[in-house]
Symmetry: C2
Subunit: 87 residues, 2 copies
């Protein structure tokens, strides 16, 4: 399964949320991560995120794509490499 | 076709890029938009973005999902409504 995960969390929690996502997925840009992951590991990732984020204020968006063949990614402009833009 | 579009542009150009994307897609959070769109309208949108963004500095990520049935979106925490968080 391929997933895209976007977060919108209070600035105080950005670092912690980013760190959890980085363990499981690849950072794309700003608050967006993506990668191949199993449902089990994704659940583990979300459980960890639940301990860092505030569900009354923060948002985590998860897009599960059953088969990556159904998705085509195109980058226009500069493709940032993995860590160069890390906070 | 369903698309997710994420942008990473210089702060000076965020407003202009956001405005173009808002014409074609639905704003999800921060620098992420999504929605159902035809390839023709997406091309038009990207052509407009090309006039606003700087390809040597900025990045636009486009994820085309052939059939939205292949994708499942889940929001954890607060689902922000469309305009409440607009810059």
């Amino acid at each position: 399964m391929y997933v895209l995960v976007a977060y919108d969390v209070d600035i105080k929690r950005v670092g912690k949320v980013h760190k959890v996502l980085k363990k499981y997925l690849t950072w794309t840009q700003n608050s967006l991560f993506e990668g191949e992951i199993t449902e089990g590991l994704l659940k583990q990732c979300l459980a960890e995120l639940a301990t860092k984020a505030n569900p009354h204020v923060d948002s985590i968006y998860v897009y599960r794509i059953a088969n990556p063949k159904n998705m085509k990614k195109t980058v226009y402009g500069v493709e940032k490499d993995f860590e160069s833009m890390f906070l």
